[in-house]
Assembly symmetry: C2
Homo-oligomer: 232 residues x 2
């Protein structure tokens, strides 16, 4: 795909990141974008590499996974369409803090570091939008820290599913389908618990009619029921 | 204290938040600041209140503690001199995400929400500085999430102390003193572990000569030794 495809232009101009920009600025933003599509399992970037570009996902899904120097690994976030990823370190230590891996075939737009800084300098609205986006992620991560410190695994899993539904949920006849191709291992990694506990918990919830899942997607059949578990 | 006191002016103009601003902008920033001093235990703001002001700590220390709807509570951060606090929600949901409590007598500068937005609009450099600050906190919180998901308590405590030393350490004859008046309960809360475990661990480390602590301060006598424990 090319940045001048009408579909790509529409997707870029609809991003939260560029909300409030005048049409002339959006034209410039779009003209400087590089668009690329990667297959399932491909790496958008590797942890520890210098950040050369700012990224936004146009379609698909990305797993952001961080390894410690001790080999311990955690999923920091799943990125859905319309979200920035790997773009904050341009302002901090200039190194990607995690791996970004395509969970399905995915299309991103990205901007070279110098172009990105130039655009933000000239359109400070982008900086304000970025503070809002990063501030929301900080608040979400604060919630996760609190849950990990104070809640049992079952409640953490419920809170994780509710957060994913807010981030990437779509209403279907059966309930709210989470728009990420999640393996149970993914849910365990982002809830800070084990695959065993996630499997047992989701099996229970499925038997109780709270969720439905198949290889393709996980659906919250009863948001109220999951919400009650999240509250403890 | 008054914003026009030379000491306050010097503290405000030295803040990372205002790095790179011309002198005329700094004058304006200082003129619009409100400065107040609160005693130990006083609340700078309460979780859930509307955010009316942006805050920077000039001296002292603040505990940022968040409670969940279930009553579970966690310390999100200790704020030291020169750091912003409670200022990000102006850009997100406009509610303080946590309580801010003075750990000792503390002096803050703050700006009314409208003044703050106006200053950022006119001096976009502040927005860029803010992205850097919030981006670093996001990276720190990502480290904490990874540690909580993958590390035993002893290593988490070591990583916590190293992070606090980077944030607020000062070299003394005895080693690196952490510039927060930390109770052991504080260290437990921010490491996501129990008071019992923190007490046992710090007692061990003191006997091994890795740390020294009294009611006033905690000193890392051997950063290398604590660093080895942090690496596992």
């Amino acid at each position: 795909m090319h940045p001048h495809d009408p579909e790509v232009t529409a997707a870029i101009t609809a991003l939260d990141l560029f909300a409030g920009l005048p049409a002339s600025a959006l034209d410039e933003v779009t003209a400087r974008a590089r668009v690329r599509t990667l297959g399932r399992g491909a790496r958008m970037f590797d942890q520890g590499e210098p950040v050369e570009r700012a990224h936004v996902l146009l379609s698909g899904a990305i797993r952001i996974a961080q390894a410690g120097s001790d080999g311990g690994q955690v999923v920091l976030r799943f990125i859905g369409p319309g979200e920035i990823f790997g773009s904050v370190a341009i302002f901090t230590d200039h190194l990607y803090p995690a791996d970004g891996i395509a969970m399905v075939g995915s299309t991103e737009a990205s901007w070279a570091r110098a172009d990105w800084l130039d655009l933000i300098e000239r359109y400070p609205r982008i900086a304000l939008n970025l503070i809002t986006i990063v501030g929301r992620r900080l608040a979400e991560l604060q919630d996760r820290v609190r849950e990990m410190a104070t809640q049992r695994a079952e409640r953490r899993i419920a809170n994780t599913l509710l957060r994913l539904a807010r981030q990437a949920g779509r209403a279907t006849g059966a309930g709210t389908e989470i728009g990420f191709p999640l393996r149970r291992k993914d849910i365990a990694d982002i809830s800070g618990t084990t695959l065993f506990t996630v499997s047992r918990t989701l099996n229970d919830w499925r038997r109780q009619g709270l969720i439905a899942d198949d290889r393709r997607a996980l659906t919250l059949v009863s948001m109220a029921g999951i919400g009650r578990i999240a509250l403890g």
